[in-house]
Symmetry: C2
Subunit: 338 residues, 2 copies
């Protein structure tokens, strides 16, 4: 087997020229793209909708280790975590840009596959990858910028009211359980690995709930309780949540039953947490079918002064063993290595 | 003097909450900003112009060292290098997003000043900083995403024709001469330092030349010859350039006279290189006054088969001692340390 050539072997300009030619051809076939990747800027035609803009980064040894997932999976994941922010606002993805930092010894094939993953995730969501940037870095990092359009209503973290239902898409805690297995030197169960390496932004659900009149939404990236706290702070409300109702894969259920709190505190699930007026309850079955996603009512919003309360099966307050959410700047709480 | 608290001391969420509150208030005062920093996405009202989109990153020990410039200067520079890409297309800045990677021991004050610099540069150009992302990284890195609008014509790297004049704004080589001094352990002359720490995107010139009918443009980030090569490749033309005509500060002139080639090969000047139809020559004095920038005609475009030729004062081909432009992935050519 021939060794793949590294970025250092090929050189920045030669590698970029090849990469841009490939990406530009794809992008400029799409309507609205006046100038694709490879120039000083991309240029898009005037959109006629409000635009949602977001950025999120994945950093090696902070958010992932290279041996946890393939280059293609890493590229798709880098885009999906950004699309998840668009989903939380109810937006439809239109464009992405990708800024990669890489050490010189990274194989050029690796970066190609990474970018292919970024393109695949962008295009699967109906968007166009418009370009980006490549620079040397000490570790691998991928910073994605995503733009979406709002054809209908949009949601923010604010706007939730006491009495609203708390609805969660999909399942919680699987990604964190996979990371925990890797960090202990184990191989995560396939279903858990999948939750980490292949999150799917809940775009259809975001749009459907925004248009159905949901009051507020956030994507679960820091962990359910941490993101619930963000939503409650922005909306000036409290919340009561039943721990048993948090949706879990069977593998996560077993771990949480034996003392863990992956569903309540594990991050990087990229599901949506939605605050819905009570009259939406009767439409949840229909919305779940429409959006091809499971939906779980996990609690209810309360007045701000009641704070955030997590109840165990007996109805007593449950205090998670681990802090709610992780903080990448605090060594004791950081996950993902380093 | 009290020690400034680090990001690790304060924690990601507390720091971000404070930062976003500050940025959000500023941004939401501006028309067109429906949701400012601090939510899952920013939301802007539908623009009615074609949009230019770009991203560029500054990485510690690759593009800068922290002791070369203040946090505020680094923030402004991070934005200006992106606005320079907008200038090269003839666009007017509208929005920026900033993704910061930082080690946990970075003082929170440092990140605040860095962001203040990003806000200042964005607002000085008439734009709004819409938000961003903060993550842990091994070194400091700032990835900016900039959006501009085209009220008039836009330029690309393609479109230049044989016979076009090559026009350069400002002066070349100063930033590279400053970096060279730092790397030799010297202190650069104040005028050279200024060229590195405080580049100014040539936005007025970009707009004016686009509307005056310039055929092509690129910003000089990799180095004059390297960026000329990019423009020539995209336009399928060659070029002949007179080395003596490259505009230089006196300090750069002295270095280049003694065997250096900072003006021809040094990067990070963030000036514009423009391909102009010959009939624009008579309007250059007026354009320079209008845009408050010096303009130099440095050469002329030729048919592609003539390649790129740099002539010395005697009219003989000049071969720069250093490779044209730098390649961050090739150790021998990389600048900025590490």
């Amino acid at each position: 087997l021939a060794e793949s050539r590294s970025l250092g072997d090929i050189g920045e300009h030669a590698f970029l020229a090849r990469l841009c030619a490939r990406l530009r051809e794809r992008a400029e076939l799409r309507s609205g793209v006046l100038v694709g990747p490879g120039d000083d800027c991309a240029v898009i035609d005037a959109p006629t909708y409000p635009l949602a803009l977001t950025t999120d980064a994945l950093v090696e040894n902070v958010h992932f280790r290279r041996d946890w997932l393939t280059a293609g999976e890493l590229g798709r994941r880098s885009v999906e975590v950004n699309l998840s922010d668009l989903a939380a606002m109810g937006a439809t993805p239109t464009y992405t840009l990708v800024a990669v930092g890489a050490p010189p010894d990274v194989p050029a094939d690796y970066v190609d596959e990474l970018l292919d993953g970024c393109v695949a995730a962008t295009e699967a969501a109906g968007g166009v990858l418009l370009g980006g940037n490549l620079t040397r870095g000490e570790g691998l990092s991928i910073t994605v910028f995503a733009i979406g359009r709002h054809e209908g209503a949009y949601m923010t973290r604010g706007g939730a009211l006491p009495g609203d239902l708390l609805v969660v898409t999909g399942t919680l805690g699987g990604a964190a359980a996979a990371v925990d297995a890797w960090q202990r030197g184990d191989r995560p169960a396939p279903a858990l690995r999948e939750r980490f390496v292949a999150p799917k932004a809940r775009l259809a659900a975001g749009r459907a709930f925004a248009n159905a009149g949901a009051h507020a939404a956030i994507d679960v990236s820091d962990g359910f309780l941490a993101d619930l706290e963000h939503l409650c702070r922005a909306s000036r409300v409290g919340a009561v949540v039943e721990r048993e109702r948090l949706p879990r894969l069977p593998e996560v259920g077993a771990l949480d039953a034996s003392g863990e709190d992956f569903a309540a505190t594990g991050g990087e699930d990229y599901e949506l947490l939605l605050a819905c007026p009570p009259e939406l309850e009767s439409r949840l079955v229909q919305l779940a079918a429409l959006c091809d996603v499971t939906l779980a009512v996990v609690g209810r919003l309360t007045p701000a002064e009641e704070g955030i309360v997590l109840l165990d099966a007996s109805g007593a307050p449950h205090h998670p063993r681990r802090a709610a959410g992780h903080d990448h700047f605090r060594a004791g709480e950081s996950r993902g290595g380093a």
